[in-house]
Structure formats: structure tokens, C-alpha cells
């Protein structure tokens, strides 16, 4: 018979402990989402590195009326898109894109691994708990490094990234704590 997470604090069933099933599914859902987020961040930095240069003069926005209609934006918004990306480029320190690309690439890999490990937790493989601790610790470290980078990248970048990173840092700390607590429960049984 299956044991619900809510029936027993350390409930185990033929399927494995309930804490592992719950932590596993959280790791999977967040892993899928975070892989997409880190992948997008990597892409953002690639685009900025390839198309923005602070030695280049800001080009004028090209806003044909039919394009504005298709995009559902005003002329002012179309011009602002260029101002916005240029402002972003101007407020980004030289070291930031490389750092973010590296951390985003590591983050993408770890997020995908957390998805696999989430599955192993749900099916409760013996290696899943130490692997979960390692990967969640890795994700926490990536968040902490991104946090440190963003804090030192100036007010505009800080405004864009800081709270998002802080939220992920807290989520990964909670998941890491959950995995460590789960290991203690398993060892004590």
C-alpha cells in the first residue's frame, strides 16, 4: 500500500520513503524550470557579447508601422527597446557577461542533473541521497556566486537580477537542508 507524505513523518512504502518522493518531485519540477532559466541567461549573455559594443554609437531604432502593428507596440516602445538594451550594455561591467555565461552554463548542467536526481529520489535509488546533497549544494554555490557577482555589478544589473537570485538561493538551501535531513532519517532507521 502506498504511504502518503502526510500520513507519517518518515513514512516508507514499497515505493520508498515519502520524504524522498516529495523532495524528488520538487527537484524535478524546479529542475525543469531552472534549466530553462539558466539556458535563457546563457543565451542573453551570448546575444549581448555578440551584438553590443560600448565603443559603438547607439544605432537609431528601425520601427516600420506594419512591424509595430504586428508586435502590438507603440513607436515610443519600439525606440525604448533600443535604449533599454543599450542602457543594459552600458551598465554591464566587462567581466560580467563572461562570469554569467560560465555560471549559467554550470547552472544549466546542475539543474538538468537535479531533474535526474529527482527521479532517482522518487524511485529511491541508494545513490540518490548523497547525489542530491552534492547537486543541491552545487546549485546553492552557483546562486551564491551569482549573488556575489550581481551585488558587485552596479545598481542597474543589481535591480534586474538580485531578488530573483536570492529567491533561488533560498529555495536551493531549503532543498539541500531537506536532503541532509532525509539522510539523517535514513541513517537513524
Amino acid at each position: 500500500m502506498a504511504t502518503s507524505f502526510f500520513q507519517s513523518s518518515s513514512g516508507s512504502s514499497a515505493f520508498g520513503p515519502a520524504w524522498a518522493s516529495s523532495l524528488g518531485v520538487v527537484a524535478i519540477v524546479l529542475g525543469v524550470f531552472l534549466t530553462g532559466l539558466h539556458g535563457t541567461e546563457w543565451m542573453k549573455q551570448v546575444v549581448m557579447v555578440n551584438h553590443y559594443s560600448d565603443t559603438m554609437e547607439k544605432p537609431a531604432a528601425d520601427c516600420p508601422e506594419e512591424e509595430l502593428e504586428e508586435e502590438g507596440i507603440s513607436l515610443a516602445e519600439c525606440e525604448f527597446m533600443v535604449d533599454h538594451i543599450w542602457g543594459l550594455g552600458l551598465s554591464t561591467p566587462d567581466w560580467f557577461p563572461g562570469t554569467q555565461m560560465t555560471l549559467a552554463a554550470i547552472g544549466t548542467l546542475l539543474a538538468f542533473l537535479s531533474l535526474i536526481i529527482g527521479g532517482a529520489l522518487v524511485n529511491f535509488r541508494p545513490w540518490a541521497v548523497p547525489a542530491a546533497i552534492t547537486v543541491f549544494a552545487g546549485l546553492t554555490a552557483v546562486d551564491a556566486l551569482q549573488f556575489a557577482a550581481v551585488v558587485n555589478a552596479g545598481p542597474i544589473i543589481r535591480d534586474i537580477y538580485l531578488w530573483n537570485i536570492l529567491l533561488w538561493l533560498l529555495i536551493h538551501l531549503l532543498m539541500l537542508t531537506g536532503a541532509i535531513a532525509g539522510r539523517h532519517v535514513e541513517r537513524s532507521q
Binding site: 515505493f15 516529495s22 531604432a61
Partner: protein
């Protein structure tokens, strides 16, 4: 042929498709805020081509997944699911497949009516299937948008169902988590 869970190929394809869908959603919201393209402003070129590459790949993966799933059907799991839950799960799955396909096809048709060519993973140049046409581009673009929103809603239902089964620990979600 029936097994305890889905085949490893099906599991791998399922999660690759899931990650791709989330990447496409998140990245598309960002790339639509990039400046409209001009000779000097090419910010959109790479993300749009990547979006198309992943979308076309998604269709191919979806067909492989459907083939694998029908070839290797997992044995039914005993659970306390009510009949309406079974029906909802079945409807959600069928609609998910239809909407993934519809979102990708409408996206491609929208793109096919622009002046931009599609070079699949920057290697295979797709032949043009239509001349640039603003009205058709807008029509398919709108459909792409609405099918994408509907897909997102269904993905939310799908995830909620998976989380529900994980919390009651009845072995349903395990079938898609075999490594």
C-alpha cells in the same frame, strides 16, 4: 508489450521535451523585448533562429516519443484514482500532444511568411513554402501565441497531477522517472 514503467527512451524524450518547452517559453518572453531588426540591430537573429531550431526539433522528438510510447506501454498501476481523474489525465495527455504540435506548426507557418529564412541548426536550409506576407504572418503569429498560452495552462494541469501523485506516493509518477 507492457512494462512496469515507460521505457528509458520515452523517459529521456519526455524530460528533454519538458526542458525544451520551458526554455522556449522563458526565452521567448525575453527575446520579444529585443529591438526590432535592422541592418545595425541584429539582436533578434540568434534567439529567433534558436527558437525555431528547438521548436522543429521538438516536433521530431514528439513523434519519436509517441512511437516509443505506443510500442512499449507500461502496465497499469493500482491506485485510488477516481474514474474522472483517469479521464482528466487522458484528456490532458492527448491535448498536450495536440497543443505541442499545434504551437510548433503555427510558429513555423508564422515564420514562413516573413522574409527570414529558416536554417535548421544553422546547417539545413529549409525551402521557402510561402512568400513574405504580413497578414498571414500576423494570423499564424496570433494562433501561435494562443496555442502557446493554452499549452502553458495544460502543462500546469499536468504538473499539478504529477505533484498530487507524488504526494500520495501511489507509484504513478515513478513510471516516468526510471533512470
Amino acid at each position: 508489450m507492457q512494462n512496469q514503467g515507460y521505457s528509458r527512451t520515452a523517459v529521456f524524450l519526455h524530460w528533454t521535451i519538458a526542458v525544451s518547452i520551458f526554455f522556449l517559453f522563458i526565452s521567448s518572453w525575453w527575446m520579444l523585448g529585443l529591438p526590432l531588426p535592422s541592418k545595425e540591430l541584429q539582436f533578434r537573429a540568434f534567439p529567433f533562429q534558436l527558437h525555431k531550431n528547438i521548436g522543429i526539433t521538438l516536433v521530431l522528438l514528439l513523434f519519436i516519443l509517441l512511437y516509443v510510447r505506443f510500442k512499449h506501454r507500461p502496465a497499469p498501476v493500482e491506485s485510488s484514482m477516481k474514474p474522472w481523474m483517469h479521464k482528466l489525465a487522458l484528456a490532458d495527455h492527448v491535448l498536450l500532444y495536440v497543443l505541442i504540435l499545434a504551437t510548433c506548426v503555427t510558429g513555423y507557418l508564422s515564420s514562413a511568411h516573413t522574409k527570414w529564412d529558416t536554417v535548421f541548426w544553422w546547417v539545413i536550409e529549409f525551402p521557402r513554402i510561402a512568400a513574405p506576407n504580413e497578414d498571414m504572418n500576423e494570423f499564424w503569429g496570433e494562433l501561435h501565441l494562443w496555442t502557446a498560452w493554452a499549452l502553458l495552462a495544460l502543462v500546469a494541469v499536468h504538473i499539478s497531477g504529477a505533484v498530487y501523485h507524488a504526494f500520495i506516493n501511489d507509484g504513478i509518477v515513478r513510471r516516468m522517472m526510471r533512470w
